[in-house]
């Protein structure tokens, strides 16, 4: 194999944050025209490596070589001028600017003297069209869902003539369709000789597109492998440091519990006729229309559908964030007014939102504080959890969910993306909910952690918790739900038993087949 000269080479990079050694002597190289995947568990140091490459952080030790000469980028803008274009893990765009500006601002020739808006908008539209998104690019970014925002971030990275493209979990919110589009764009760029650094937790995508894989574990380099030489099993094992199954047992009949256990579970709720929550004819202008759902104790109801089909909006209605204008909600057979999230929480509902950064975490508060927030809100101001109780709670969940942090007092914004998600889950588990709404809960979570988390959730479900599970990955929905409600055009178009269905059945319903 002839080794080309690396465009980008990193030697012995180390980085320490207060209390955490995020990277320790890591080497990495990126060859021209390759897609190079960086893999590792949550908190392994992938994002940190990227942030060092792009000048967000300064390394403690080590060198960065760009085409053989050493560089010391001091800011992302410097890195961009050096030809490194980046999509960071969280969507880091400006919500108040228009989509077109977010995509083009700062490097577009049409801005040279006076911004030529028409030209700018047309360019943005074209870039988005490449990714199969057709939206009004003059609208503020914040009017779009997190998935669309992610696509915009990708489009921004693609809009510059860069030598190197860095993508940190660009697909975490995307549905299959957009992912496909992105992969094909990546292939095109690769063919043009661009070097791409790609971080994702989706093994399928890795094996589909990448040429080589660098694996990190706990901030240390495990190794660099051509993708052909690594099986999925080996990859996961190297990442995690031990052998694990790649996918958990599905919820389908008999897959998790023995038939005896299963019938015992079903029997336990036999006496109670009413489902935990049932909604009828829910609707709201500009949101979903005429949605009827039943979420039963001890069962997981999946919600499938394409991007923007209204899944998140159902969750918002059920959690009292938006008020339903039509229809009714019954909890345990009694009609309930869910006029605010607090009301929903008091009814025993919990909600993990999909936009972690804006709707989930309170960035500057500590892990402990983020965890106890919902429980404390549920208890009210004066029934305060003592500091000791809080510490215990934090400790329990840090251990139970395997959150990677030196201690519970670290601000949550300093955790790696996946670990933040775990903290959010802990927040809701701490309230001891009777129903949990999970909107893309596995976003940005590594394979091992995903298993752990879903295992935990399923366990709770078996113990009687009702689950509403929303995910863009149909496969995941199929795997972790008992029944699946399918959404299209902001309406529910069908409901099926998960056990009897596979992906094609769901897609058929989405495409407008039988209900």
């Amino acid at each position: 194999m002839t080794e080309a000269v690396p465009v980008l080479e990193v030697k012995g990079i180390s980085k320490r944050f207060s209390g955490v050694q995020a990277l320790r002597g890591v080497d990495f190289r990126l060859l021209p025209g390759e897609v190079h995947a960086v893999m590792g568990q949550n908190g392994a140091g992938k994002s940190t490596l990227i942030k060092i490459l792009t000048g967000v952080h300064r390394p403690d030790a080590g060198r960065i070589l760009l085409q053989g000469s050493e560089i010391k980028p001091k800011s992302p803008s410097e890195a961009r001028k050096l030809g490194i274009s980046t999509v960071y893990q969280e969507v880091n765009l400006c919500p108040n600017l228009s989509v077109a500006e977010n995509i083009c601002l700062g490097h577009d020739p049409s801005e040279a003297f006076a911004i030529r808006w028409k030209q700018l908008n047309r360019k943005a539209e074209a870039l988005l069209a490449d990714l199969n998104i057709h939206i009004d690019v003059t609208a503020p970014l914040s009017t779009y869902s997190i998935a669309v925002q992610q696509v915009c971030a990708i489009a921004r990275a693609l809009s510059t003539q860069a030598k190197i493209l860095i993508l940190d979990e660009p697909t975490s919110s995307l549905a299959e369709d957009e992912v496909k589009m992105l992969l094909s764009v990546m292939r095109k760029l690769k063919a043009q000789g661009m070097a791409i650094l790609f971080v994702t937790h989706f093994l399928d995508q890795i094996f589909e597109i990448s040429d080589r894989i660098t694996i990190l574990r706990n901030g240390e380099l495990v190794g660099e492998y051509p993708v052909a030489e690594l099986s999925r099993m080996e990859l996961v094992t190297r990442m995690v440091g031990r052998e694990i199954a790649e996918t958990g047992p599905s919820r389908a009949k008999g897959a998790r519990l023995s038939p005896a256990e299963e019938s015992a579970r079903d029997e336990a709720y036999e006496g109670v006729e009413a489902p935990f929550l049932s909604a009828e004819g829910l609707g709201r202008r500009g949101s979903v229309q005429d949605v009827g759902l039943e979420v039963k104790r001890g069962k997981a109801l999946g919600v499938g559908g394409l991007l923007g089909s209204g899944r998140t909006e159902i969750a918002r209605l059920l959690f009292g964030i938006d008020r339903a204008e039509e229809g009714s909600i019954k909890i345990e057979g009694k009609s309930a007014q869910l006029s605010s999230p607090l009301k929903a929480i008091q009814h025993g509902i919990g909600f993990c939102p999909e936009d972690r950064k804006h709707e989930g975490i309170v960035g500057e508060l500590s892990i402990r504080e983020n965890m106890v927030l919902a429980l404390q809100a549920k208890r009210g101001i004066f029934r305060t959890l003592s500091r000791k109780q809080q510490d215990e709670l934090a400790e329990i969940y840090i251990k139970a969910l395997g959150i990677k942090t030196p201690d519970a007092e670290k601000p949550i914004s300093q955790l790696s993306g996946g670990n933040q998600q775990k903290v959010l889950l802990a927040r809701w588990l701490a309230t001891n909910p009777r129903m949990l709404i999970l909107d893309e809960p596995t976003r940005g979570i590594d394979v091992a952690a995903k298993l752990e988390i879903m295992e935990k959730v399923m366990e709770l479900c078996d113990k009687g918790m009702a689950i509403l599970f929303i995910s863009s990955e149909i496969e995941e929905v199929l795997c972790y739900s008992d029944r699946i409600a399918v959404m299209r055009d902001r309406r529910k178009v069908g409901e099926i038993e998960a056990g009897e269905a596979d992906e094609s059945t769901v897609f058929k319903i989405i495409a407008g087949g039988q209900a």
């Binding site: 959690f319 607090l342 508060l365 927030l373 404390q376 809100a377 009210g380």
Partner: protein, 350 residues
Amino acid sequence: MSSPTSELLRGLAKKRVFWPLVTLALLLLFNLAFNPRFFSITIQEGHLYGSLIDILNRAAPLMIIAMGLTLVIATHGIDISVGAVVAISGAVAATMIGGQLDLSGGAQDATRYPLLLVIVVSLAVAMLFGMWNGMLISYFGMQPIIATLILLVTGRGVAQLITEGQIITIYYTPYFFIGNGFLAGLPFSLFIVAAVLALLLLLTRKTALGLFIEAVGLNPVAARFAGVRSRAIIFWAYAFCGLCAGIAGLIVSSNVKSADGNNAGLLFELDAILAVVLGGTALNGGRFTLVGSVLGALIIQTLTTTIYSVGVPPEVTLVVKAVVVFLVSILQSDKVRNRIATLGKVQEAL
């Protein structure tokens, strides 16, 4: 190698109130260098008397307002109407007490309403104005600066309306105790400060209120999604801030034995905001420190008293103030501190 003292120092340096404390100490030391009598405290008529006591006594209204404002700022708000509310509560109290000079020479030592009622009503009025702010901001979604600006303008008018543009002199001696009295040798106003501080510390550190306020200030959406009643919290923060301004108004009017609708509490809002920020609470909301704000108020008052007692000519006063504020904020900037910290480390390593 690190000695236990440097370890201790480093631990202290991490505390928010450390730097305001250092600043205050520096200011006091400066005074000592200039005026050796600055620290002298004598006993006069059974109570302590001296510059330090003056500073404490004089800073009391500011400390109380700064505490109320800290809560507001922690919710990512601002209240610039505190000065006007100070004037209103003083005006209400003075008019309720009423009274006139007795021409025979002595003052008429009487009040139209019982003192307790006077205090309760003035505080209630002040709190109502705070609630008014809170309502406009949390329920009508007005921007805090505009909502409180409206009260800043209107409130002065209201205060003057109450006093009819006059300075109302108060002759009722028991009322003077609030701002002039001494308890156990210390100014009574300090006990009020202590009580407010204790109450607030209890509320924000021993109940979940502090957590909720910080969460609302940092990410209101996430806080609401986690079940925090953001609106109610914001509403009560302003209401409480109004109450604090009311208390300060009573102290001020009692201290000068009169209510001046136009001048009482003038520009207090700037001093109070400055106090909060010098104390280490960011204007962007979130993490807050009440003790820091109290220290901030002390810093400001010490500076003012220093300027008077060192004899800075009035034309230069503002320049001096500017330079000190500038130096203090540089000293408190994280950037500079980190620089100092790394320097310290290097020295230790040597």
